[in-house]
């Protein structure tokens, strides 16, 4: 060590002090970069929620037109039969048209009539049918009903379709605009709570499309997933955590499970298509198959979280049970499992939330079919909530944008609720040792 290279105390301090300002500035910049990263991500989250919310909130209210409907027996059942079957098959479209003409008596020409009929949703007749079948006494009577307007009318009222400076729009002819103004002036046209959105299945007409079918499909699918993955996941976790000898085989199973947890979900869809649909010939597009695919997908996550819950139970519990003469299985089922169950439950709920939001594997097994009917069982064709979102997002009609956003809001609501329950359970039931 030569004398020249050694710095004196003073020189060292001077050098450090000189660099200190720069280093502290670098420190502050670094911290701010970290803060910015977090702010940016959370800001994006807010932007996403805000964007979806602002687009979707309007879908919960929809434009309805009040019509005074005369349930005319001569139109509904010309032969005079008033049983439910005849009434179920009758032509309710005529009633809607009659009521529309009664509201605008001056409309007589054929093309005018057609333009007038176009203002009301083509599904209004079904609403009339349901009303009458629910209450057959209405036959022969008059009643004012709020019927869904056509989706273009809805978009106009909500301001999504703008009128040009002459008060015209390419979507409507001037007469139609005039009629709508009259309806508004007579308070026969207003935005009301959109119950159809929660009580209908899918539809090609945006004003009639609802999410109940998709919700029921998702519900049945999650039931299948839960019924399959929870017992299997818990049993597998108990075996791997408590019984499995440490050897190459169990090591391999463990690696396998970890890898499976990170396999893209679409690959599970391919598995479902090749094995469940083509090999076992199970029915396409059904919640049964969808649920099975989702269970295989969520199973690794279930196993991993259940094992973590078992691991968290201290060994002293097992030893105490074994010490008073319980068999190993008794020690686990009577003592360890009840203590680990809350942890498993939270893991399960979070896994189910993931299963609820997953779309890609369901596309593979045909759950993208256009299904109007609300499914009533595990083997009826159905769609799922995220798939419904995907389908609507692809639809060209402007009115489907708000429907899509509203469906997303419902989906997010379910996810938030599930996660909130999981967090609550964790804080309430989980024991720290």
């Amino acid at each position: 060590m030569s004398e020249k290279n050694l710095l004196t105390h003073q020189q060292t301090f001077a050098k450090v002090n000189a660099s200190l300002a720069r280093r502290r500035a670098a420190e502050r910049r670094f911290i701010w970069l970290g803060r910015l990263a977090i702010i940016a991500s959370l800001g994006f989250l807010l932007l996403l929620f805000g964007n979806i919310g602002s687009q979707g909130i309007s879908a919960f209210r929809q434009t309805f037109i009040a019509l005074n409907i005369h349930f005319d027996p001569t139109l509904l059942s010309p032969e005079g039969q008033h049983d439910l079957e005849t009434l179920g098959k009758a032509n309710y479209n005529k009633l809607v048209k009659q009521a529309l003409l009664a509201t605008f008596p001056d409309v007589t020409q054929r093309h005018e009539k057609k333009a007038l009929y176009a203002l009301i949703s083509s599904g209004a007749q079904f609403q009339l049918r349901e009303t009458l079948l629910d209450n057959p006494d209405l036959l022969g009577q008059r009643q004012t009903l709020w019927l869904a307007a056509d989706d273009r009318v809805d978009m106009l009222i909500k301001g999504e379709i703008q009128l040009d400076e002459h008060g015209q729009s390419p979507h409507f002819n001037p007469k139609q605009l005039n009629w709508l103004q009259q309806l508004q002036a007579r308070q026969l046209l207003e935005k009301r709570f959109n119950g159809l959105f929660f009580s209908n299945g899918d539809s090609r007409e945006p004003e009639l499309a609802g999410i109940l079918g998709a919700l029921m499909g998702s519900f049945y699918m999650l039931l299948v997933t839960l019924a399959f993955s929870f017992p299997v996941g818990v049993a597998a976790a108990i075996y791997l955590e408590e019984f499995a000898p440490v050897n190459r085989w169990t090591d391999w199973i463990e690696i396998n499970i970890n890898n499976l947890a990170a396999v893209p979900s679409i690959v599970f869809g391919l598995l479902g298509l090749a094995v469940f649909l083509n090999f076992f010939d199970l029915p396409r597009s059904t919640p049964l198959v969808g649920g099975m695919v989702l269970s295989l997908m969520t199973l690794p996550t279930f196993i991993i979280s259940s094992r973590a819950a078992l691991k968290a139970v201290p060994p002293s519990i097992r030893e105490a049970a074994l010490g008073v003469g319980a068999s190993k299985l008794q020690a686990i089922f009577h003592h360890v499992l009840p203590l680990a169950l809350p942890g498993m439950l939270t893991g399960t709920i979070i896994g189910m939330a993931r299963a609820l939001g997953d779309t890609a594997p369901l596309l593979m097994i045909g759950m993208v079919a256009f299904i109007v009917d609300i499914p009533n069982g595990f083997t009826e064709p159905a769609t799922a909530l995220p798939v419904q979102i995907y389908l609507w997002a692809d639809s060209p009609e402007r009115a489907f944008v708000e429907k899509t956003s509203a469906a997303i809001m419902v989906l997010l609501l379910f996810l938030i609720a599930m996660n909130a329950v999981a967090v609550y359970l964790r804080s309430k039931l989980e024991r720290r040792w």
Partner: protein, 455 residues
């Protein structure tokens, strides 16, 4: 369904009978080997298991047996026809039975329908009889075995253990199922399209013609453009996710207070919990038009389904995958390393840059690899926001397509299961599976090794 209930009923009844028998034996012969309820479990399981196995097997083979019966009873001239015609006829029969067939079926179809129904009834009654007899027989054997020397608890426990091993094997079977299904279909695909064409071809246009004599009937199945598109979008995503995710992780693990950390970490993880279909909708309807408008303002031509919009949104989705795991591994770096750096006069930021991050690097790399595998396998965002046409380009403003998009477009909708189009999807699935598997295995082994180092 009723049959299953019946079996359960039988096994419960058998269990109760076993309970009565062992109670009686206890009174006369003394204390049995196991607690009494285990005898009930034992006999109940004896009744349940074989009957359920028989039922499952029967249900599996029922359909093909019935159809074979129907075909055998077809008139001779129909039987000698090609298998396609027979399949069509069977389809008609099934449709007629399920009421989807509106017109009146032709005479041969009607005959086949009748045969079908007869066979169905036969199978149904034989099944019921066999299953119930099995349940009763085995329950009887079990009941006969019940005596105070029988080690019922050990037997029941062994049975439970076998069940648990079976459950643990489901995960392995799933992997096996994935491998087998993609491999078999891929082999069939490579019989039609040479492997080298698929791996090194620069053209992807899977439109096969309706008729074989049409122009361009073969279609082109070169996956290079798809790989390029996948890599392009994933790189954009990683370019967003890695810096933001790492900086967020560093801030949370090294600088923030416990309260901020407790609030911000779960908030970041919300990003990973949002369904990808939501991101896809956002990318397609908000980000893409915004980018296009912005591009037009500064004179750039941005495709409406640009790789950039899909990549950006995907990157944001992936942030928590990077940040969560990196945060964990940085927390696992021993405090003594930091203290040593502070003792030498390093500032906190310098410690992080020169000590903590290098020490945690293997784990960070592992988390990034996992995130890359996530990005490659991500489907809904690209299906909704990326393009369909395969294009060999690295321009992020252009529309590209990815492996996952092509799998979805090839398989959604009805087509014959053995057309090259459908099979190509499985070949792509195999590529995707192998790629993500390699990345995951690599990442997990890195993370594992790293954990061992500091434990």
């Amino acid at each position: 369904m009723i049959l299953v209930l019946l079996i359960i009923l039988i096994s419960v009844a058998a269990g109760f009978m076993a309970l009565r028998k062992i109670s009686g034996l206890r009174a006369r012969q003394g204390k049995p080997h196991s607690p009494e309820r285990y005898y009930a479990y034992y006999v109940g399981l004896m009744a349940l298991t074989p009957a359920l196995i028989v039922l499952t097997l029967w249900n599996g083979f029922e359909q093909s047996w019935i159809e074979e019966q129907v075909i055998r009873q077809l008139p001779f001239d129909l039987q000698s026809q090609s298998s396609n015609r027979i399949d069509l006829l069977l389809n008609d029969v099934r449709n007629t039975l399920s009421g989807h067939f509106n017109s009146t079926p032709s005479a041969p179809t009607q005959a086949a329908v009748d045969h079908y129904q007869t066979a169905q009834h036969q199978s149904q009654s034989a099944k019921t009889l066999t299953v119930i007899l099995t349940a009763l027989l085995v329950a009887g054997i079990g009941y006969g075995q019940v005596n105070i020397q029988l080690r019922a608890r050990n037997r029941v426990e062994n049975w439970v253990k076998v069940f648990m091993i079976g459950c643990a094997l489901v995960a392995v079977l799933t992997t096996l199922g994935i491998v087998l299904s993609v491999v078999f279909e891929s082999i069939r695909f490579f019989q039609k399209v040479p492997l080298t064409d698929f791996l090194f071809g620069l053209n992807w246009s899977p439109q096969t013609a309706m008729r074989t004599d049409q122009v361009g009937a073969s279609g082109a199945f070169g996956m290079i453009p798809l790989l390029a598109g996948t890599l392009l979008i994933s790189s954009i995503a990683m370019a967003v996710a890695v810096p933001i995710g790492l900086l967020a992780a560093i801030y949370l693990s090294e600088f923030s207070g416990a309260k901020v950390r407790a609030a911000a970490k779960p908030a970041l993880e919300i990003l990973a919990g949002i369904p990808t279909v939501v991101y896809g909708f956002f990318a397609a309807l908000t980000v893409a038009p915004a980018l296009r408008g912005f591009g037009a303002d500064i004179g750039l031509d941005v495709a409406s389904e640009s790789a950039l919009s899909a990549g950006l949104v995907m990157g944001i989705m992936i942030i928590p995958f990077v940040s969560s795991l990196s945060d964990d591994v940085m927390n696992a770096v021993p405090q003594s390393l930091r203290d040593a750096a502070y003792a030498l006069g390093a500032t906190q930021a310098e410690t992080v840059r020169h000590i903590v991050v290098p020490a945690a690097l293997p784990g960070i790399v592992g988390s990034i690899l996992l995130a890359v595998s996530r990005a490659i396998g991500e489907t809904m965002i690209v299906v909704m926001a990326a393009g369909l046409a395969a294009k060999l380009t690295f321009n992020p403003l252009d529309a590209v397509t990815t492996v996952t998009v092509q799998i979805v477009t090839l398989l959604v909708g009805d087509q014959a299961f053995d057309s090259p189009k459908t099979l190509a999807a499985f070949a792509l699935g195999m590529v995707l599976f192998l790629m993500t598997l390699a990345l995951n295995a690599w990442a997990l082994s890195i993370v594992r090794k790293y954990r061992e180092r500091y434990e």
